[in-house]
């Protein structure tokens, strides 16, 4: 039986697949994907063999760079990124969690010096069992992912 696509195919751009259900909207918001005026199609709670349900995002005329792909791993550690040209997948790769994240998240510790000075925030990413923790380079405190408003 021919498989029917649930989200329309795109000519050029990026398809982010295997996003945990519920994370798709957060990813749109975090990466400000809608701000670029490109056509975006989003599938929420799609059936998935591996995850039961997944989200999927297709962004036309946009290719994620390595830094964005690594940041994506903080939301969706098992996501795959498909780069599309002429309706064909020309490159497919899994995201990998970055060792360090600079200038992206504000430190949840309100007394951390990084809030008051002209510097980028800086976190070391540490895997702990199934989850990750982010340790602030400056205040040395470790935080669960749930404590970052940007990831919420």
């Amino acid at each position: 039986m021919k498989k029917k696509l649930q989200v329309e195919a795109i000519a050029h751009g990026t398809v982010i697949d295997h996003v945990p259900a519920g994370q798709g909207i957060k990813i749109l918001k975090f990466f400000q994907l809608s701000a670029a005026q490109e056509r975006i199609t989003v599938g929420l709670n799609l059936p998935s063999g591996e995850q039961q349900q997944k989200d999927l995002i297709k962004v036309e005329n946009t290719v994620f760079d390595e830094n964005q792909a690594n940041q994506l791993a903080l939301f969706a550690p098992n996501a795959t990124i498909n780069v599309i040209e002429d309706f064909e997948v020309v490159r497919k790769f899994h995201v990998s969690t970055p060792e360090q994240v600079k200038g992206v998240f504000a430190c949840p510790n309100s007394n951390c010096i990084s809030h008051n000075e002209p510097i980028d925030s800086n976190f070391y990413v540490r895997h702990q069992q199934q989850d990750i923790k982010l340790k602030c380079h400056y205040c040395e405190k470790s935080f669960d992912r749930s404590l970052f408003s940007e990831l919420d």
């Binding site: 010096i113 008051n116 000075e117 002209p118 510097i119 470790s142």
Partner: protein, 310 residues
Amino acid sequence: MNNPLYQKHIISIPDLSRQELELIVDTAQSIKQQPRPELLKNKVVASCFFEASTRTRLSFETAVQRLGGSVIGFADGGNTSLGKKGETLVDSVKVISSYSDAFFMRHPQEGAARLASEFSSVPVVNGGDGSNQHPTQTLLDLFTIYETQGSLEGLKVAFVGDLKYGRTVHSLTQALSLFGCEFYFIAPKALAMPDYIIEELNEREITYSLHDSIEEVVNELDILYMTRVQKERFDETEYQHMKSSFILRANMLEQVKDNLKILHPLPRVDEITTDVDTTPYAYYFEQAENGVYARQALLALIMTNEFGAQ
């Protein structure tokens, strides 16, 4: 060959290796036995206290002067033009480091010393950054433990009191875990050792145990490290009920090991009764004195090649 600490910033205990900690302890002992009044002659050290801390500041400034160096600086950042004109710490550090050969700083915000080290052209020593690190307290604690036990290896060390907020006990635990020490944590549940320290100990497979009172373990110990249980963290009834478990009295020391030494970062309030002071186990005032030698050692190492190159 340079000593490994020459021109290095001293920000956080986990940045230091076991060998570097041993070098500092050995150097502190050497300076205590043989004062070196010329070592920092013609050197200027800035003492930058963005918040007041009288003991730490006096200890640092004494250390510089005993090594023959000069001190510039301020005792309370709020009363300086730095605080009043709203200059960033980054800009302050760039200027201060151009005036001095090294500087030590205390700041109310966590991470301030790390940030300073990234913009300073001379070594920065963290004299306490908010609730984060106070590495020189740990260095003086290590020196004192070494001085009283003849080794840092495999000791049985108990920490008592506020283990949740006490950065002193966090750093000392991290440092002593490099030497295979065994830990006993004695604290009210509300003030227990934070999870991240416990996780680090688990990862390193360090032996530790949790206890409700000093009496449970005091006879097994080499070091009993007392800290203050802050009354304001509990309501009055709860505090009265709980505090007796965390107060050390002389009559609790009748069967302890001969080599036991009792330490406390000071100031003490009522967690060690004064009858303990005259026992052979009390060592907290010597510990405070050792702060000057430990800080002398640190400044000597980061500002000269004299010791580590031997």
